[in-house]
């Protein structure tokens, strides 16, 4: 059995899950989440909602990646998985520890953002956006500048009701495409591929943070990533950081939940409104617009450094 801390929860798994934060088994406490192999049905009885490859019935969720793996998620506390065809578990595990676990967090009623995070002055700064927005790449570039790694793809926020909001790490590795590894000169830190057929790899971050042991960091700010495109691009400004007011922040935070459709489906809009308000209190929600081009990465990092100085976040570093 393997033991991990994932998004602040104690997880046991019968499958080794690369890139995650391993922890010692605790005899005293039961795990929060159990991941195990088992029989998984192809369909659920009496489902309330369904998609092309998923079904939901009460507190049970079935997710299928045809020909690769299918899994049931139960009450936010258990994942049961079964490989399909001749797929080997190690080629399916990223769907369990990534997509499956993320959906489990939604099911669990936790606030989960689709974002990477780095440590700035002992607090966590989030970079949110859909797949392909450049979350991992930006976090890896910042790690190369000494900002500790906190999360690569999923950020669970806790403590939204009041007091300090905490950001829980999702693992100890970046997941980067070959092109990004080359452009960021990280080949030496690159490990196994995320799946055998993909040229996307686990990469060891250049800078560690307290999050490496699974500890949560206080939330500092949320940046929503966007690509500079026409009509914005022709205005001449390449990299812009714009604060969002509470109304826009509320829309942006909800839209950047790990799976926005689940927020709606599970009636959790209030939770993400709380998160937006908490983020505003912590330091703000900002829109970071920049060209998606490695040639301007230095400019993006410089803009962020200036912004952290202006907002006082960088002072905490010293």
């Amino acid at each position: 059995m393997f033991h991990y801390v994932m998004s602040g929860l104690r997880v046991t798994s019968d499958l080794a899950m690369p890139g995650l934060i391993e922890t010692a088994a605790t005899a005293s406490a039961a795990p929060d989440v159990r991941i195990r192999q088992g029989e998984v049905p192809l369909a659920l009885d009496d489902c309330d909602a369904s998609g092309p490859n998923w079904q939901m019935a009460d507190d049970r969720f079935l997710l299928r990646i045809p020909g690769i793996v299918r899994m049931t998620l139960d009450a936010g506390t258990a994942i049961t998985w079964q490989c399909e065809g001749d797929t080997r578990p190690e080629d399916a595990v990223i769907f369990i520890s990534g997509s499956g676990f993320g959906l489990l967090m939604h099911q669990h009623g936790r606030c989960i953002m689709h974002g990477s995070a780095v440590a700035v002055g002992g607090r966590a700064v989030l970079f949110c956006g859909p797949s392909g927005a450049g979350k991992s790449t930006l976090a890896a570039a910042l790690a190369a500048r000494g900002f500790g790694h906190v999360a690569d793809d999923q950020c669970v926020l806790s403590g939204l009701a009041g007091g300090e909001v905490l950001v829980h790490p999702d693992g100890r590795a970046h997941k980067l495409w070959e092109q990004a590894i080359t452009k960021l000169d990280l080949a030496e830190r690159s490990g196994d591929p995320v799946r055998s057929a993909l040229r996307k790899f686990f990469v060891a971050p250049q800078a560690a943070s307290p999050a490496e042991s699974g500890a949560a960091l206080p939330l500092a700010a949320i940046y929503i990533l966007a690509e500079a495109r026409a009509p914005d691009l022709v205005k001449g400004e390449k990299v812009t950081i714009t604060p969002l007011n509470l109304a826009d922040a509320a829309i942006a935070v909800r839209a950047n939940a790990y799976r926005p459709a689940m927020v709606e489906r599970l009636g959790q809009a209030g939770l993400y409104l709380q998160a937006a308000a908490a983020a505003q209190r912590a330091g703000g929600v900002f829109r970071l617009v920049r060209p998606m081009n490695f040639e301007v990465m230095d400019e993006v990092l410089a803009a962020l450094a200036r912004h952290w100085e202006d907002t006082g976040l960088a002072e905490r570093v010293a």
Binding site: G51, N53, L63, G67, S99, G132, W177, Q179, K200
Partner: protein
């Protein structure tokens, strides 16, 4: 169930123009190039795949991703998708169907299913065709290639958009099969009725050409409304809009360059060398004759 009408074309054959015409036809006020919807309107949209299937398409190989796409389109057509209803408007004569752009050739998945989900979910396909001799220069401009490179891509049965594997392309991979392969794949499939709309006919008279295609699909639209849509979508208007504020769907590497480049038909007479013209006519002769770009019998 809200059946799909596929707006299918090889790149640079007038798909954006057709979408703008349709957007303006459905609207009571002029719609500009940056208001005809985002990348979500395209079949190969990655965000829509991820949002609907609740997994990261980037963790799938191109083939594995293709294997899931038929179910995605069935789900969209069944009206369960949130976006299906977004287009509905009482006064929109096009609102009975979902109009979805695609540059995907008609292909089958590794399991033998039609990638686009088959005939049961689609009312029809509008196949937008343009003289490949004019496509060459437009494609070269779009891709930042030479004319010869663009012609090579158009002749390549393995050609694709968003097909790289060392990074995550913005969209899902779209197999093009080359210019001839693209059009052959759509006209030779027998699941979805195909209505051909030629770029050149749009140019000769957009209102008439669009009206004829819509009539073929089974809807009649007020001719005055068609004329108004044509006027609001005129090439000069579109070009002026791009010069003023850019086009958000243009490739970023074009910068402030022109997505809407010349829009002419027959520009190849000045732009192509005799040798390149001959190459294209040789590579695509059969399909060019099929769509009336070469006289029958000419070899």
């Amino acid at each position: 169930m809200k059946p799909i009408v596929w707006l299918a074309s090889f790149p640079k054959c007038g798909n954006t123009w057709a979408r703008l015409l349709l957007a303006n036809l459905a609207s009571e006020e002029p719609r500009g190039i940056n208001t005809i919807g985002t990348g979500d309107g395209i079949a190969s949209s990655r965000p829509r795949f991820d949002d609907t299937c609740l997994i990261a398409s980037g963790l799938l190989t191109h083939e594995e991703c293709d294997a899931m796409r038929p179910a995605l389109y069935r789900h969209l057509a069944e009206g369960a998708g949130r976006r299906a209803a977004a287009r509905e408007s009482a006064d929109d004569p096009l609102g009975v169907w979902q109009w979805i752009k695609t540059h995907d050739a008609w292909t089958c998945t590794t399991a033998g299913e039609p990638l686009m989900g088959g005939g049961a979910i689609a009312h029809a396909a509008v196949l937008i065709v343009r003289d490949p001799r004019d496509v060459v220069a437009s494609l070269a401009n779009h891709n930042g290639q030479t004319l010869e490179e663009a012609a090579t891509m158009m002749a390549d049965p393995d050609s694709a958009f968003a097909g790289r594997s060392d990074r995550q392309p913005l969209q899902l991979r779209q197999r093009l099969l080359g210019w001839s392969g693209y059009y052959r794949s759509w006209i030779e499939q027998d699941e979805v009725p195909v209505h051909v709309l030629r770029y050149e006919d749009l140019q000769a008279g957009a209102a008439g050409a669009l009206g004829a295609v819509l009539a073929g699909l089974g809807i009649s639209v007020d001719p005055a409304r068609l004329e108004r849509a044509a006027l609001w979508s005129a090439f000069e208007t579109v070009q002026a809009q791009e010069a003023e504020s850019g086009f958000k769907e243009a490739p970023v590497k074009l910068g402030t360059g022109r997505f809407f480049r010349s829009g002419r038909s027959g520009g190849w007479r000045e732009e192509l060398s005799d040798a390149l013209r001959a190459t294209i006519e040789r590579d695509h002769g059969e399909m060019m004759r099929r769509f009336g770009y070469l006289p029958e019998g000419r070899r």
